[in-house]
């Protein structure tokens, strides 16, 4: 299948003006959502995913718990307006179940589930907008949400999609490119350099695989830097807030509009 839109032009630019290995803009918002223990919103280009984490907590159904470790329960919902043509997917949609199973199996070896026997960790994923690289965005947001919830992890999980256009590899595909070129998603643990997920729904020549795989692993390291910076920023803000509360002399000056007397 080929479209009229040039995936990669002679100047080495892609349809949205990026270079071959260029990733899209990533914005991370780790602010609290409702009563959730941890949450993260990732805006990756035009793909936007919100993940909230509850737990570890007692499971609603006791029968589903395991005696020696915690169970990861991933539920995903896709907003009907997230795609070009409106389509309402129910919670039992095959595609959604498959994606959530994939995310659960990605995180099972990463989360230290043995620390919480007989409990459950709920991961709720909302897809608000999608423009390619949906699975990587979900995985990255889940990592960050688990971290903000304080769930012990062995390492970050950083995911990215890669594709091959004739012989040139591309990273971080949009919907347009995903429809056109063979692609795969790779999730890596950047510190231990392990891989927790490699998935592909299209066919790729075996000789191209190695190159693409190595590139995707390298891109995972770059995304890790971005995610680490966001976590660090939030932690610094939290530690600052603790300090301001504990020391009597220091007053938190951020957007205070009412100044009480000098007694503080």
């Amino acid at each position: 299948m080929s479209s009229r839109i040039e995936i990669l032009n002679d100047g080495g630019f892609r349809s949205d003006g990026r270079k071959q290995y260029e990733l899209r803009d990533i914005t991370i918002d780790l602010s609290q959502q409702g009563t959730a223990d941890g949450s993260a919103m990732i805006t990756h280009g035009l793909t936007q995913v919100l993940v909230t984490v509850f737990g570890p907590r007692e499971a609603k159904m006791r029968s589903q718990t395991l005696h020696d470790r915690a169970v990861l329960n991933v539920e995903m919902s896709v907003a009907p307006f997230s795609t070009g043509d409106r389509r309402k997917r129910s919670r039992a949609d095959r595609r959604i179940l498959e994606l959530s199973a994939m995310i659960a199996s990605t995180f099972e070896p990463v989360v230290q589930t043995t620390l919480y026997p007989r409990s459950q960790i709920d991961i709720y994923i909302h897809v608000i907008q999608q423009d390619g690289s949906l699975l990587p965005a979900c995985i990255n947001a889940t990592t960050l949400a688990l971290i903000t919830a304080g769930v012990p992890l062995h390492d970050f999980v950083c995911a990215v999609t890669g594709g091959v256009h004739s012989t040139s590899p591309l990273l971080d595909l949009t919907t347009l490119e995903e429809n056109d070129v063979p692609h795969m998603t790779v999730a890596v643990m950047p510190r231990t350099r392990k891989v927790t997920l490699v998935t592909m729904e299209t066919r790729l020549h075996v000789e191209r695989f190695r190159e693409l795989f190595e590139l995707a692993c390298e891109a995972g390291q770059t995304i890790h830097k971005e995610m680490k910076a966001a976590v660090k920023e939030r932690t610094v803000a939290l530690v600052g807030a603790i300090d301001a509360g504990s020391k009597p002399g220091v007053v938190d000056e951020r957007d205070r509009d009412v100044f009480m007397g000098e007694s503080i």
Partner: protein
């Protein structure tokens, strides 16, 4: 609506503090005060109109509050095949995130979603509010207006938030301009054919380009290329706002938190539509709760509700016009400069 677990003593405590003089609320608000409402339109680039609304976000933490994303999306429907209705139709749906209701099972969540969808559909989809510009080609093609709302977090007062978000998304919605396309035979050919009936029996064949015998009505439509995304929905001032009166006789209060919602015996949802230069209309009303209400009290509550709804409407209208200005008028000016 969400059954928050609340002990009897907690409930009694909340009730007695609401009944005290002066009344007290946990967050220090007065009975008729709303929490901060934040609104942004145009949040979903793939929808025709969208809005994100938050009630009660905490300024310091950057989180919390009831959060709703609503989006209006248009779809073409074929009237002749029986899918669509002539003049277009409006379909509303509400999805609740399990994260907003962590204590509910998935079945209970489905029921809640359905309840909210029905309230929204019956009010917004009412014929008296139907926009007139949803027709593309009369009796052939029409727009289906899908309004989808997602409740991302519930910190009380979901119905009011839902209607505000719906109003904002519908206000923001743009119907793409369409131009009807019709097949028409050249006049000369037609007259020649009519003047000499049966003079010469020419085998015309069945060329695909021969459109002379086709009906001369609009057959299809095209989308003209223009700088904006289309015109706004007709009668967008009419979309209703909802106020929820939490009744704790003889008092009532607005914008309840989940704990307050769980401790009042009755709630009254009132949906008002304010059309400029016409008296306000009560579009819908729902009375929830196990107790009954006197007719006299009900009339009084509606009168109060109208007053609060008017205030809410005015505030929302101001914000929507501001957003309009930010997103549309400035964009147009920029476009004019570029040319």
């Amino acid at each position: 609506m969400a059954a928050v677990l609340l002990s009897k003593s907690e409930r009694a405590y909340i009730q007695s503090s609401l009944k005290a003089t002066p009344p007290l609320r946990a967050d220090g608000r007065g009975l008729l005060d709303f929490r901060t409402v934040l609104l942004e339109t145009g949040v979903a680039p793939l929808a025709n109109g969208s809005a994100r609304l938050n009630i009660g976000k905490m300024a310091r933490e950057g989180g919390g509050g009831t959060e709703i994303v609503a989006a209006a999306k248009l779809e073409v429907e074929d009237v002749e095949s029986g899918d669509g209705v002539d003049g277009g139709r409006v379909a509303c749906s509400v999805t609740c995130s399990p994260a907003a209701y962590p204590h509910l099972s998935s079945n209970a969540l489905d029921e809640l979603q359905h309840d909210l969808s029905v309230i929204l559909q019956q009010t917004i989809g009412h014929p008296s509010l139907h926009p007139r510009n949803l027709t593309i080609i009369p009796r052939k093609k029409s727009w289906l207006l899908n309004l989808d709302a997602v409740v991302l977090a519930d910190a009380g007062n979901v119905v009011d938030a839902l209607f505000m978000a719906a109003r904002a998304a519908l206000w923001d919605a743009k119907v793409p301009r369409t131009r009807a396309v019709q097949y028409r035979a050249p006049e000369a050919l037609k007259s020649a054919k009519n003047d000499v009936p049966g003079a010469m029996d020419v085998d015309e064949g069945t060329s695909g380009f021969d459109t002379r015998d086709m009906a001369r009505t609009a057959a299809d439509f095209e989308l003209p290329d223009y700088w904006d995304e289309g015109e706004t929905l007709d009668g967008r001032e009419k979309w209703p706002v909802c106020v929820t009166l939490n009744l704790l006789t003889p008092r009532h209060f607005l914008d309840a938190t989940p704990a307050e919602e769980a401790s009042v015996p009755q709630r009254l949802h009132l949906m008002f539509s304010f059309v400029p230069s016409a008296p306000p209309t009560l579009q819908a009303m729902r009375l929830l709760g196990p107790e009954e209400l006197d007719l006299k009290d009900l009339k009084e509550s509606i009168a109060f509700g109208e007053q609060y709804a008017k205030e809410l409407f005015t505030a929302l209208e101001t914000k929507l016009r501001e957003e309009d200005n930010r997103r549309n008028i400035k964009a147009r000016d920029r476009f004019a400069l570029m040319r």
